[in-house]
């Protein structure tokens, strides 16, 4: 665990890995997009099924990013792991963007398919709550004059939120089934045709790689920013 805690080592390793990672990401993204447009239109959803190739991976990443946020926060709190702290901090905006993308693309899909931009469907509502959890995390992170305090408080919030996410999910699902069955608001059928499944899986891999690439990039930027700030302070201290 602590072998990876050294920021200098991280900078060295990530510098070598990043170009390769970025290349593979672009390859998967291009392949996934091409496959998405070559896939036959759905017999029910028509061309708008292609929105799903962005929407579904975005939804997966929204949840995946929150899980990594919680894991990184736990590592930061338990071991005072400096890299985990930065990882958590830099995961949150990415997760929020994926969640926002999921909501917007779902809304764009919903308008032609369901005839409405928004419905209080259990899944949609819990994703919206997840979006607010991300926003709360980021707001708390930046609410303190002392950034260390913000980071620790936000890490605790991430863990509290992580315990709560299943409870919220369960209760929202329960709430929705109480009011109306979701039968109308379901995708075509339980089985997905391979012609649609493959682009979806490739896009899911592409999104995961994109997330990792962006995270490494952001972590590097954050580390460099810290270094600059320290140098700045030292320089102004020497002058003053």
């Amino acid at each position: 665990m602590h072998r990876f805690a050294n920021p200098a080592r991280f900078m060295r390793v990530s510098q070598i890995v990043l170009p390769w990672l970025a290349t593979v990401t672009v390859l998967f993204l291009v392949a996934g997009l091409v496959m998405s447009f070559l896939a036959p239109p759905d017999y029910q959803q028509g061309e708008s099924v292609r929105i799903m190739f962005v929407h579904v991976p975005a939804a997966w990443m929204a949840m995946c990013a929150y899980t990594s946020l919680a894991l990184a926060s736990a590592a930061a709190l338990i071991w005072r792991h400096p890299l985990a702290e930065i990882a958590a901090e830099e995961t949150a905006p990415l997760g929020a963007v994926f969640t926002g993308l999921c909501l917007v693309s779902g809304s764009l899909w919903g308008q032609p398919m369901w005839g409405t931009w928004w419905a209080w469907d259990a899944r949609m509502t819990s994703v919206l709550v997840l979006f607010f959890l991300y926003l709360g995390y980021m707001a708390l992170l930046n609410a303190f004059d002392d950034p260390t305090r913000g980071r620790r408080a936000a890490a605790i919030l991430a863990l509290v939120g992580f315990v709560n996410v299943p409870i919220i999910k369960f209760s929202v699902e329960w709430w929705n089934t109480l009011h109306q069955p979701a039968s109308v608001l379901r995708m075509g059928g339980p089985t997905i045709d391979p012609s649609i499944l493959w682009p979806l899986l490739v896009m899911a891999v592409a999104f995961t790689l994109l997330f990792v690439t962006l995270l490494v990039l952001r972590m590097r930027a954050a580390l460099i920013e810290r270094k600059i700030r320290v140098l700045d302070a030292a320089a102004s201290g020497a002058l003053g």
Binding site: V129, F132, L133, A143, A153, I156, L157, I168, S171
Partner: protein, 220 residues
């Protein structure tokens, strides 16, 4: 146990002598509920249907009012440092604070809720269930609120921030609280009451633990 009681009594005494917090929560609760007939229209059927939801949402919002001062005053004058140094575990300090918060701003709501619900044309026969659901749900609100208050201690715009943090976490309580008190729902609501109880049982150990961890970071 002695220091727990002393801390609780101190908080209650402070609340009563300074006045305000508890009365404010109730006044806000009634006043905000009063706005709904203007917003929704005075038709008794519409109001009666929405009464449970209005009462619960207002209870959620009213519980937020006094949160930013839950630890703030003690933190500023240094009493919180002394409490952290005292033999009483910080978790129990949080529990005493949350209990005090509930007694001051949650308990009065239980008295005000039947009056507000009746004014909103809610069926009188459903009132005991509404009050019981609130009695089981509002302590959890205070506990979750304590976590939010501890996390935002010393933050800029803490009062607004605490709502942003706490409200999403309180959604399950709202869902089951409304369902437990809703007369239109099938059954006697015992499932919903059990879930409300389960949430309280879950929050009772976990929230003071998380809030104490947050306070330790603040006191560092």
């Amino acid at each position: 146990m002695v220091s727990f009681k002393a801390l609780l009594l101190r908080d209650l005494r402070l609340a009563f002598r300074q006045g305000g917090d508890g009365a404010m929560a109730v006044i806000f609760f009634v006043l905000a509920a009063l706005l709904f007939p203007f917003g929704l229209g005075p038709e008794p059927e519409a109001l009666a249907r929405d009464a449970v939801g209005i009462v619960w949402v207002m209870a959620l919002l009213a519980s937020l009012l006094a949160l930013d001062r839950l630890f703030q005053g003690d933190w500023e004058d240094g009493s919180l440092d002394l409490m952290a140094l005292s033999p009483l575990p910080l978790e129990l300090v949080v529990l005493a604070k949350a209990l005090g918060h509930w007694l001051v701003s949650g308990l009065p709501l239980l008295i005000a809720a039947p009056i507000v619900a009746s004014m909103l044309q809610f069926d009188t026969a459903g009132l005991p269930r509404l009050v019981a659901a609130l009695a089981l749900g509002t302590p959890t609100l205070s506990l979750l609120g304590a976590v939010g208050a501890a996390l935002t201690l010393g933050a800029r715009r803490a009062a607004v921030l605490v709502s942003l943090l706490v409200l999403p976490l309180e959604i399950p309580l709202l869902i089951f609280g409304v369902a437990a008190a809703d007369p239109a729902a099938t059954g006697d609501g015992s499932t919903q009451f059990m879930v409300l109880g389960a949430l309280l049982a879950l929050a009772l150990p976990l929230c003071p633990w998380a809030a104490a961890a947050a306070l330790r970071q603040a006191l560092d």
